[in-house]
Amino acid sequence: MADADVIPIGSGGRPGRGSGRRTTPSAAARALAGPEAAKNRAERARATQARAAKNGAAPRADDAEAGAGKAKSRGKGRASEAPAGKTRGGKSAQAPRSGDGSAESPTGGAPSQLAPDLGGLSSVPDAGGPSGVEVGETASGRDFAAFEKIVRETLGADGEQKVAEFLAFLRRRLTGEYEVDEFGYDSDLTDQVLLSLLRPLAEKWFRVEVRGVENIPDTGSALIVANHSGTMPLDGLITQLIIADHTNRPLRTLAADLVFKTPFVGELARKGGATLASNDDAERLLRQGNLVGVWPEGFKGLGKPFSERYKLQRFGRGGFVSAAMRTGVPIVPCSIVGAEEIYPLVGNMASLARLVGVPYIPVTPFFPLLGPLGLIPLPSKWLIEFGEPIRTDDFPEGAADDPMLVFNVTDQVRETIQQTLYTLLMQRRSVFF
């Protein structure tokens, strides 16, 4: 969230005015915190309820674009969800989100509206208490403190930061105030949503082990060439995540035209940074200094039978090498072990695939036998190794138009990946561990 103007909610969970200065709590604030601490147990029960209400609110906020009527009913729905004996509390917990609601106007700045709202609320404990202001105001102040506490308990110390970031993100999405580059890459959505969804899959399910990240340059462009396997192009997504996490740079992938023909897949692929695998697009991305990922085996590698696992197919027509040569960027070979076993392809419904217009429809031991359950990838252990970069800038002028040279470099890259695959397979103890 590079461009987010994040303003933390309130006083950071501590008593005080929320002015940023961390002072010792005032007597009024301590008095306020007293009954809170005593009611800790009841509070926790409420916390879970409020969390449920909050989680329910987030997707509903997404729906706001669907229609005005919904937007109104949302407010009602939330009010009714709040615990019955705690209407004041329910309302004050709603307060930060009402700021978000009004920020749906294209010009509105949610954080700037959020801040005074919350500033007003969090200053209540100081004003109330001993000086004897009316009871209702103190109650609402206490409830806001409770809300803050809930946030801190459920999301950790920087919980408010997270909530504020999430609200800022939501506002940007709803008002369209985000940037899309000329390829349709939506860095905001990719960083916040798409990669976050993939992360558990990579870390918990496939337990990806990465080697040789230092071979990816920190600045300037590079072409990352990898083997393709696993029936579904999950290896591409995981590689994108790995590179984003380890180098803090987005990987721009090159995808087949079938991807962009398919509804949803094409839309998400463009937003995730993919573009058509053609020399024009590849060279344009490389000239702009991006990390570009390419899987030159294409569908031949992706849809090869399980018996041929880890045998590299033909590397296309070497188009990726000529693109790298024309722009003079290094080629980083990348070997992925583990992706072959996620969907072991044992058969192919060729005639049905022809009818639908896709290269193959896989038959795996579990698909289509178990239906949607068969779509769950097997939890194989993944190893990803990035090899030494192969330089292309020392070739003579016009080398990209020399087919023999291009084929030689293509074979060199292919051999490197194949050898690394064999080495990694020797090191792997078993498919799943």
């Binding site: 009402s98 369209g176 000329e182 509804p263 344009r284």
Partner: protein
Amino acid sequence: MVTGVSRDAGARCARRLAADPGIETVIGIDVVPPRAELGRVRFVRADIRNPVIAKVIAGEDVDTVVHTGVVATPGSAGGRSSMKEINVIGTMQLLAACQKAPGVRKLVVKSSTTVYGAGPRDPAMFTEEMAPRAIHQTGLSKDAVEVEGYVRGFARRRPDVCVSTLRMANWIGPQTDSPITRYFAMPVVPTVFGFDARLQFLHEDDGVEAIHHATMNDLPGTFNLAGDGVLSLSQAIRRLGRPAFRLPSFTASSTAAVVRRARLADFSPDQITFLTYGRAVDTTRMRTEFAFEPAYTTASAFDDFRARLGTGAVTQASRLLGAGLGALRG
């Protein structure tokens, strides 16, 4: 001489050229008299589909022809066949007349980026050299391709004439009335389910300036003109604060027919593919060779257009909601 002055874009170009003291006389040509005020422009009622156009060029001793008469919408031209007649036959007749007129020194053609078509196999950005990848070409994009073909033929036969072809992205702005602006002005904007097109816009003022720039300077060649940056369709609709209605692609043509029947907007099949797959063009050459810098980016041109439209339903609802909650809280 400016063709197509009864239409909004043509009239604005003619007015802009007439406002320049460096140009002696500006002659506006169209079949119907212009509704807009033309100022210093001299209007001549003539049909570019008719050989009489040659007499106008010879009689007025025209040295520069600005062709803005390519019609984008079948509705305003009186049907698709009439539109094709105006676009293709009109251009042929005009070019034939220009070829016979020794006085003509320059030809500026307002073309469109629709010549590139739109489809899933498209590169992210089209440069001027690239050929369209999509096969099914209908409506305006087919006309524009044919018009450009005739213009290239003319440039070959009359190498002494400076021919500039300006492939402009969709014009947008407070005064533009085009299928795209009508589309965005609909209370509920239908989009194709599962696709999000990349759009580029050119502000109407930039478009007029570009035509003027090409008329005043000798800039032979073909140039892409568009504002910087790209908006995705969903993003544009969100910025408008209007609800989007996502429809599966097979219902797109019937929806377009309903919309056309309701006189809300005028859609041709090539516009539907454009709104499905989108299209973006490379404008490097606009800066280097054409030496033109648009004042608006795609996003700021769209903002200018949005200011005219007023608030959409989603924005209003959220404002109401915000105000209501504010009142509730006291």
